[in-house]
């Protein structure tokens, strides 16, 4: 049965290939850098299993890898040259709309698999882990699309590796940044940063006012999401600190409404923080923007107006 582990193996293999291609060109820092994130993809499951059994050194070795990533990252070098624009124009004219077929293969295969698993099921549900259907479908779709792309463009299979490596080196260390930020989020949770923030907020708000509690909850979601880069990390902290004891228990808020709107209020924070690297920093690099915060600059007004709207919506619907 296909599980997420198989998808991780594939990612590990790809990162290893990127490391090897860099090593062949004697770009040692880059080679070393890409070898590190390959590790949790290739041997992540045994590491977690060992930890459960009480053997800690594999997990600690991964921890050393995390520190090594930070030390190597500033020394890595940028992208590899693309092919000639004239060559691309000629190829585009020759292949025409056929070029869209592999590009559309990804969404079509993802959609087909996800919807099939949900509404039909058998026999696909016996072939892949249903709980991870969306991510496994993405893994399958990228490989199907790669095969279609190689057929359409008549390129050799090695080109998949060299072009994948080109883009990986172009994005550079930002590829690993979202993973490291999630790691930091876990450290923050474990060391009690969340509890400390909630306790601080609890000191400063007048708890007898429902409006003050609601504002503290909403703005706290935004601030904490911006710090953690992730509303999912902020939600349990703010709910346990303010939402549940003050808004729901004391002021009688509706939990479903508060939960849904509170989470979306947190997303306004995601739109404005570089900590949400996969949404805000990686695209700036993918689109070759000189301003690393260009995407945030483009979306903060939307976030601000939506935050205000959401606070009003909450004050109207939460206490009904």
């Amino acid at each position: 049965m296909l599980t997420l582990s198989h998808v991780f193996f594939l990612m590990g293999a790809l990162l290893t290939a990127t490391a090897v291609l860099n090593a062949l060109e004697r770009r040692w820092w880059n080679a070393g850098f890409w070898a590190i994130p390959a590790m949790p993809c290739l041997v992540g499951d045994p590491v977690l299993a060992a930890l459960k059994a009480g053997t800690r050194w594999p997990a600690q070795a991964m921890g050393v890898g995390v520190i090594a990533l930070a030390l190597i990252a500033p020394r890595t070098r940028g992208g590899v040259k693309e092919n000639d624009p004239a060559e691309r124009e000629a190829s585009a004219a020759r292949l025409g709309d056929r070029l869209f077929i592999p590009a559309l293969t990804i969404p079509v295969v993802v959609a087909a698999l996800v919807l099939y698993v949900r509404y039909v099921g058998w026999p696909v549900t016996r072939l892949l882990d249903v709980n991870q259907a969306a991510l496994i479908s993405l893994g399958i779709a990228t490989m199907v699309a790669l095969i279609v792309a190689l057929i359409v463009t008549r390129a050799g299979p090695v080109q998949g590796l060299t072009e994948g490596r080109r883009l990986t080196d172009t994005i550079g260390w930002a590829v690993v940044l979202p993973t490291l930020l999630a790691t930091l989020g876990a450290v923050f949770v474990d060391t009690g940063v969340g509890k400390a923030v909630a306790a601080l907020v609890g000191y400063v708000i007048p708890v007898e006012s429902w409006l003050a509690c609601l504002l503290a909850f909403g703005l706290g979601m935004v601030a904490f999401t911006a710090i953690m880069g992730n509303a999912f990390a902020a939600f349990p902290v703010m709910m346990a600190g303010i939402g549940l004891p003050l808004l729901i228990t004391r002021h009688g808020a509706n939990p479903a409404v508060l939960g849904a709107m509170g989470m979306l209020t947190g997303y306004c924070g995601t739109l404005v923080t570089p900590m949400a690297a996969n949404f805000n920093v990686v695209p700036a690099i993918l689109l070759e923007l000189r301003d690393p915060y260009g995407v945030i600059r483009a979306q903060w007004p939307t976030a601000l107006v939506l935050l205000a709207t959401n606070l009003v919506l909450m004050s109207v619907f939460v206490f009904r």
Partner: protein, 233 residues
């Protein structure tokens, strides 16, 4: 008694980003500071970092799309996307972006999150299309303006997926909300949580669509008042 020392890690993050230090260095330093401030031993902290790193590996998933996108870029996908969109002679930049926003949001509402994204669709398809459309509609753009068009394309993808994904289907966020309340002995129906995301979803669409229209209008004014930009590509 709550300890406030781990908050030093947050201070490191804020200071690091404000001083524009390498984010990788900032993030790892913040983790170490927060861990030591909480009184963890080096062995415990390494194990915590390593375990969290392994548990976060699914965030590397987008690297799987890079080989196919790379092969297609080499074969001229972006160039073809430009030519193709120019065939729609009455399409405006705002029209294109709002249509993308709507499609992205509706797909996300039905749980189709990964059908699009910055690597899959924004870089190879949407960005060349918005660039070509705005150039055709408004005249040649200077570098700064081109970057802003690309940035709002990425922003539109983010807004679409963020404020679509929680409606209708029990997905990541909805399950997390339900899970939290389950733990507190409050039973909620996932569909009810999802439907309460709808007002915000509609508001997000309207707000961002209006912003796109304003963006296009400003762009037109900017280009009209700077005819010199026409010479640069």
């Amino acid at each position: 008694m709550t300890s406030y020392w781990p908050l030093l890690g947050v201070a490191v993050v804020v200071a690091g980003f404000a001083l524009k230090r390498n984010p990788m260095v900032v993030v790892v330093t913040a983790g170490l500071v927060s861990g030591f401030a909480a009184g963890k031993s080096p062995g415990d902290l390494l194990a915590l970092l390593g375990t969290a790193f392994v548990n976060s590996r699914s965030l590397l998933l987008f690297t799987l799309t890079l080989p196919v996108i790379g092969v297609l870029e080499r074969a001229g996908l972006r160039e073809r996307a430009r030519t193709w969109i120019l065939g729609f002679t009455r399409l405006t930049l705002a029209g294109l972006l709002i249509a993308y926003l709507a499609v992205r949001q509706v797909l996300a509402m039905f749980g189709l999150i990964y059908v699009a994204g910055h690597a899959q669709t924004v870089r190879p398809l949407l960005a060349p299309m918005t660039d070509a459309t705005s150039t055709r509609q408004l005249g040649a753009l200077d570098d700064d303006t081109r970057e802003r068009v690309r940035a709002i394309s990425a922003a539109t993808d983010n807004v679409g997926v963020f404020f679509g994904e929680d409606v209708f289907l029990a997905f990541g966020a909805v399950l997390l909300i339900k899970g939290f309340f389950d733990g507190q002995g409050i039973q909620l129906d996932p569909l009810t949580i999802g439907l309460w995301a709808l007002p915000t979803a509609i508001a997000a669409f309207v707000i961002h669509a209006v912003r796109i229209v304003i963006f296009e209008r400003r762009l037109r004014r900017r280009i009209a008042t700077a005819p010199a930009a026409k010479e640069t590509r």
